[in-house]
Each structure stands twice: as structure tokens, then as C-alpha cells.
Symmetry: C2
Subunit: 457 residues, 2 copies
């Protein structure tokens, strides 16, 4: 979000070098709003404004800039000044950002960052995209269990500015293993009892995530248990970081978008739509389109197989698209409902029979209703041969039932096989219905009309 | 999530009335895990276990039960005991829950709840579903600006158990208007300076939401500014509640599911898939299926219009489903990409030209590629009349371009008109492509083949 309202005034202040006023600009508003006003400037100008803010505030305003603006500043501004900012940024944000900066600039910048921060960056960069390790941050309050409440609060006060969150305090043993968690709420409640130690207060039944755990499963835990943050441990149980509530919202959004893309037969994009290159985009779409295309090719062979039937009853051709699209639409409705219900935990594998029966009933209801409209339309188009028109409603009823059944069985089957139900369910359903629809249509027609049977294989 | 592992042991403890052991069960684990173990019991048994936990813990374990189990307990257990629990529950959760309990039970329960809590429940119930007022909670720390840091901490310590979140302290004036916010982080950092008051510390540029604001817009603010909670004010600026990070995650999930349903032409369900009645479900699906069906009916009329052309070139019929489904698939890919990109703010209205040009390029690339495969298939099926087969690739190219253009223009247009882009975009795109696909196909065929023009209207 960019607000261009005060750009002329900001440029004037920069030209006149009014340091006092520029400091005012940085401090008067919420950092997120300051960012909106400053972001419309060129990277160089925006950076000049930011330099009037103290480091913690500078980092915060910068963190609200758009990703592209952040990258532009990293690549164009004084390397030493940028490196100072990097040293103060939150560990997870800077790793995300550095991924997009050109490698030679990253190398130059990392040389100027203090060694401890550089190691931290390199360690986080090593985690695979989509794991807890890749989204976690490493700025956490690690305290010893013998610490008294009052001292713990004082220690927190000293560290508060550097920490991503002070809402949980993690108690670790000598080798860094996580032993317990004390919430800031517990600490504040215990202020009246100064002799109490963290060891007395801490919860030892800790909800935690493994560094290699999938980010979706981490987000589920945080959402289910209403946590502000979840500790992340390595395979030896040593505390290595935390995933915080704001990262979880991003993960939830990201996963929902990925599911939506998979449902529409697009391989999920790693980057945003606007930043993905045409080449990547055409690959991620083309691969699924081609698979669907090959499936749809089968319909051409099927129709050629029924050539003679169609020649004797030409009007059957008119309803081919209607039959196919009705089956496809009802199938994609079902598949989407089941996929989203499984994603939110509302439908589980053990409900399979109930789901399939529900969808059978839906298919009867919806197919029956569409068949009725279809019969009226066919009767009008084939007037006065109304008995012929009966082919249409019977076909529609059967095709819609096929659609709802495929749409429910396939996602459940994929889940059972350990695949992502969103993956290919809708495309598969559409492909199956295309070909089944034609076979059903032709066989219903052969049964009801005086029609020659298709030529042999 | 239900864990049935210890059900026999739990039942034994209940039979023997071992109060000490049951207390252990309630306190030893994280409340969420206790809930998993207890939830497999009958409502009466689960309630008997819960009664061994102190009230704050009892409320917390209960809050992790499945909605259906909570409702069953409310409806079957002792009204007085349930009312005690309700009085202690978080204001937003109990209002959500009471919506599902039968009205006569709700009335009996509310009569037993203290008057102040009852008024609170009735006030929250009055807000429209989907607004900030309906998701907010009202347990907040409201303090005066003259309070000193040390006193504020002590006051927080006293209130901590009752509050939904202690991570922001809201400073209000005499008439309840919101004047500023102090984060727990600021408070803890300032502990070394006991003379500082909340008025000195507070931020006065406050991000807030109006009670009537749409929950999606509230969630966007919290996500964008990485907040733990956002204050909610009424039209006079009086602080009435907060929306917390955990509610925001629920809202984000809910909205993503709604979008997915709309994309698949299902009117969003108010309840979960399994709890929605077949009647409601068939209505919410049938209405869109019928609209799509009527659109698809147009294809039948179009094909009748081209009856003579099809009679002279029968093989054209074979490729009708292929043409339509290729256009529909590429169109739904585009529409989904644009809709999700607009939902996350990645594409905005001002990017329209860029988006349309990208999709034009995508259409050329994808249509060209599919046309190539289509040509090979048509050449095989029509061997040796290869020149005839050229109708297929030219049609595919044009139809896929139509698909990507419709898929991008429609969601942008809907957004421009102030409608939800997810609403009907995909169904509309599919319907338009069905009919356009046939018109394009027939006209390409007429241009390339020696074919009679269609009979006049």
C-alpha cells in the first residue's frame, strides 16, 4: 500500500535537509503508516528519510515496505549502511529478503555483517522451503529455571527490544534442551510472589515443532491451540527457534492459495503472480493443461467410435456440451467442498461412507432437477418428437450422479494414498466426466432410440 | 481430534470416584491434550471429569472440545453448573456456542448467568455475522493514563487470569474513548523507570477497527501490521472490545474456504460441510448449477444453428468436447490465479493492463502448444486429409486466448464494480467459453474448409 499524498512535502524536506522535521516524520505515526507515505519515494530518497530514525524504528518502518522496494534498497544503497540494518533485522525476515537479492550483492553485504549474525543467516538459509526451520526466527528469550520471577522480568526488560516476542519465556537446560515454557501472563500474575522461580511456574508438557516439520502442520498446531508462538527444536530436542503468530497467518494464507491453485490445475507458484516470469507460469500451467488435454483427446476417439449413431440421430450432437459441462460442474462443486472440508479437518477419512452417501443423494437431487430443465429444452428443440427428448434427462441424471460420486471418491482416495487431495482432484474429475459423459449419453440413446449399435473395435 | 487410548482407565476412575486421580488427569497435561483424551467419553462422563478441574482450567479444557460435544454438554448437563461455566467463558466463544444450542435451553441458562454477563452476551449477539463486533471479545485491560508503570503491572497481574490477552493495555478517557495503546513489551522495557506513566508510554496513532467493519478487512489489518490484537471501537470512538490473533487465523481460513467455494460455483456454507443439511446444500449448489445449465443450453441452440455444416463435415463433432474443455481449463486457471492474487493484494485494479497483456501472452503460448498436440491428433484421426486437420489447431489457439482473456477481464471487472471477484467468475468464464468455443470452431471451419454457410436465422 502506497500513499502518495505527502510526496512533494517529503521531497522538499529532503532537499532542504531539515533533519528535525524528517525525524518527526519517522516517529510521529505508527511505523506501518510512515512506511506507506515514504514508500512512494525512490529507493535512494526513502533510504535518506529512514536514516533519520533510530535503528530499531528504522528496522520496523523498513519491514513494512513492499518486498520489491526492500530489494531495490538493498541493491542500490550504501553497502555498509545496509549491512547495519541487516544485522538488526529479524532473522526470519532478512533470510526471506536476501533470497531475492542478486547473489553478488548478498555476498558483499554478508561480509560486512558481524560474524555471529552471518552464521545465523547461513544456518537459517540451509533449511528447506516450507519447513518450520525456514519460517522460524531465532531471537528468543532463553532463561534458566532457577531464575526468580522478579529477575526474569528485569532480564526480559533488558532484552525486550531485540526479541521477536516476549510473550513466552523458554526454559532450557545446560545443553540447550527445552525443558519448559512460562508465559508472560504467568510471570505477571506471579509478580506478587518474588521468591517463585521459573522452574516453579513452567509448564513442562510443551507443544513444539521439529525444524524439519512441514509448515502447514506447524500452522495447524498454532491455530488449534491458539498459541502466540510455538518453539522449534532440532532432532536432539535443543531449542533452535520459534514460529510466531504472524508467520502462521502468512502460512495459512499461502497454503489456502496453493490449494486454490491446485484445485484449478495450476502447479502452485513459489512467488506472487506478478513476479512469476511468463516462462515459469506457462510451464506450471502448461504441464497440467497438457495432461487434461490428452485426457480430453479420448473424447475425440470416443465420438469417432460412435460416428454411425450420431449420423443417424444428428440432433444428439446439440446436447454434447451440455451433458459434459453439467457433469463437470457438479463434480467440481463436490470435489471443492470435500477438499476444503478435509483441509479444515471437518471431513476425515473415517467419514468416507457418510460423504459418499451424501453425494449420491446430492447427485439424485441435482441431476433430477437439471434433467427436468433439460427435458423441457430438448422437447422444445425436438418438437413434436417428445419421446426422443427423454434421452436428455436420463443422461443428465446419470452424468450428474457420476460427477458427485467421482468428486467425492477421488479426493478421499488421494488422501488415503497420502497425496494432497487438492492435487489434481478437480482436473481428474473433469477428465473422467468428459469421457464417461459421452459413453453414458450414447448408451442411453441406444437404449431409448431405434439406433444402430456402434461399429466394432 | 479425539484420542481413545485411555478411555477405559478414565471410566474406571469415574466408577471408583477417585477424585485425586481425576484432578491429576485435568492438571498434568496441556489443557488441549486433556481435552483430546476426555472428549471420547459421553457428555455426562466428560462433564464429571471436568468438574475436578478448577474453574479457569475447566473453561480452558472445555474450550478445546469439538463444537458438537460442547453443545451436547450444554444441552444435557445440570443447568446451574453449566451456567457457572458460561459466566467464566471468553465472551466471543460463548456467544458462538450459544447460537447452536436450542433456544429454550439458552433461555434457561441465561436466567442463571449473572446479570452483567448476560447483558454482555446479549450485546454481542446483536452484532451481524461477519462483522468485527461478532468476532470480538470484551475482556480487555482498560487503564487510565495517569497510572505508573509499576502500578499498571500490578493491576495487570491481578486481572491477568480474566483477560483474553494482556499483551496490549488500552488507555481510555473518562467516557470510555480509546486514547492510546501500551504494549506489554513497552511496559516491561520501562520497568526500570518506575515514575513513567502509561500516558508517557502510549502510542496515540492507533490501528483500530469499527464494530460494524467486515471481518475480512479486520483480519487484513491484523495480518498486515503483525498485530496480536486490534481494538474495536463503536461509532463514537468508545472502546468496546478487541479481536485477537487466534480469531484472525479462523477468519483467514473461513474466508479462504468461502472463496474456494465461490470459485467452484457453490454459495458459501454458513456451517461445516458435514453439518449442513442436504436441503440447504442442494439449494446452495442447485442455484448456481441451474444458472450454468441455462448458459450451457445456449450451446445446444448454437449447435442446431450449425446443423448443416456439421452434417457435411461430420468429423468436426469429434473435437467439440476437446475445444470447449481446453478453453474452459485455461480460463479457470487464469481466473483462479487472478482471484487469489487480488485476495492477497498482489494484484490491484491499477495493474489491469499488465495483467491482461500477460494473459494474452499466456494464451498465445499455451494455445500454440495445445494446438500443436491437437493438430497431431487430428492429423492421425483424419489421415490422409491433413489440410483439413488445420481447423483444430487454429480453433484451439483462438479458444485458449479467449479463455485467458475472459479469465483475467471478468474478475477485474467484478472488482471494479465492487462485487466479490470470486463470485461467479469461474462459472461465468466457463459459460462464455462454452458458447464462444463453438462459434469460433464453426467459423474457423467455414473459413478453412469448403463448407456451406449456416442457414439463416
Amino acid at each position: 500500500m502506497i500513499n502518495t499524498l505527502f510526496l512533494p512535502e517529503l521531497r522538499e524536506l529532503l532537499d532542504s535537509g531539515d533533519a528535525h522535521a524528517l525525524r518527526e516524520v519517522c516517529t510521529a505515526l505508527h511505523p506501518a503508516r510512515t512506511a506507506e507515505f515514504v514508500e512512494g519515494l525512490s529507493p535512494g530518497e526513502a533510504w535518506s528519510v529512514l536514516k533519520h530514525a533510530d535503528m530499531p524504528l528504522r528496522v520496523e518502518i523498513f519491514s513494512y515496505f513492499d518486498h520489491d522496494h526492500q530489494v531495490a534498497i538493498f541493491e542500490s544503497q550504501d553497502r555498509h549502511e545496509v549491512a547495519e540494518l541487516i544485522a538488526e533485522m529479524s532473522p526470519d525476515d532478512r533470510v526471506d529478503l536476501l533470497q531475492e537479492v542478486s547473489p553478488e550483492v548478498v555476498q558483499q553485504l554478508l561480509e560486512l555483517v558481524p560474524a555471529s549474525e552471518r552464521q545465523n543467516i547461513e544456518r537459517l538459509q540451509a533449511f528447506e522451503e516450507g519447513t518450520a526451520g525456514a519460517v522460524m526466527t531465532t531471537d528468543i528469550a532463553r532463561l534458566s529455571e532457577s531464575l526468580k520471577v522478579r529477575d526474569a522480568l528485569a532480564e526480559l526488560g533488558r532484552q525486550a527490544e531485540q526479541l521477536e516476542t516476549i510473550y513466552y519465556i523458554y526454559v532450557v537446560d545446560g545443553s540447550g534442551r527445552l525443558k519448559g515454557v512460562v508465559s508472560a501472563r504467568q510471570l505477571v500474575s506471579a509478580m506478587g510472589r518474588p521468591q517463585v522461580t521459573l522452574g516453579d511456574l513452567m509448564d513442562t508438557d510443551i507443544l513444539m515443532a521439529n525444524v524439519h516439520e512441514d509448515q502447514e502442520s506447524v500452522a495447524d498446531k498454532v491455530a488449534r491451540y491458539d498459541l502466540l508462538a510455538i518453539p522449534v527444536v532440532d532432532d536432539d530436542g535443543r531449542l533452535v527457534g520459534i514460529v510466531t503468530h504472524d508467520d502462521v497467518i502468512d502460512v495459512v494464507r499461502e497454503e489456502a492459495t496453493e490449494d486454490a491453485h491446485r484445485i484449478a490445475a495450476v502447479d502452485p507458484l513459489e512467488d506472487s503472480y506478478m513476479r512469476t516470469s511468463l516462462f515459469t507460469l506457462s510451464w506450471k500451467r502448461g504441464i497440467w493443461l497438457s495432461i487434461l488435454f490428452v485426457a480430453a483427446l479420448l473424447t475425440a476417439f470416443a465420438l469417432r467410435h460412435y460416428e454411425k449413431n450420431l449420423a443417424s440421430w444428428e440432433w444428439l450432437v446439440w446436447f454434447i456440451p451440455l451433458v459434459i459441462s453439467s457433469g463437470g460442474n457438479s463434480g467440481s462443486q463436490t470435489a471443492t467442498l470435500i477438499i476444503t472440508a478435509m483441509a479444515t479437518g471437518d471431513v476425515e477419512l473415517r467419514n468416507w461412507l457418510q460423504v459418499v452417501l451424501r453425494e449420491l443423494a446430492m447427485g439424485l437431487l441435482l441431476g433430477g432437477f437439471l434433467g427436468l430443465i433439460g427435458f423441457l429444452a430438448a422437447a422444445v428443440l425436438r418438437w413434436p418428437n417428445i419421446s426422443e427428448a427423454l434421452v436428455v434427462p436420463f443422461t443428465l441424471l446419470l452424468v450428474v450422479i457420476c460427477g458427485t460420486l467421482c468428486g467425492s471418491v477421488l479426493p478421499l482416495l488421494f488422501k488415503r494414498l497420502g497425496w494432497d487431495p487438492a492435487l489434481m482432484s478437480n482436473p481428474f474429475v473433469a477428465g473422467i466426466i468428459d469421457i464417461l459423459g459421452i459413453v453414458i449419453y450414447m448408451n442411453v440413446a441406444m437404449a431409448l432410440l431405434d439406433i444402430t449399435s456402434p461399429r466394432g473395435p
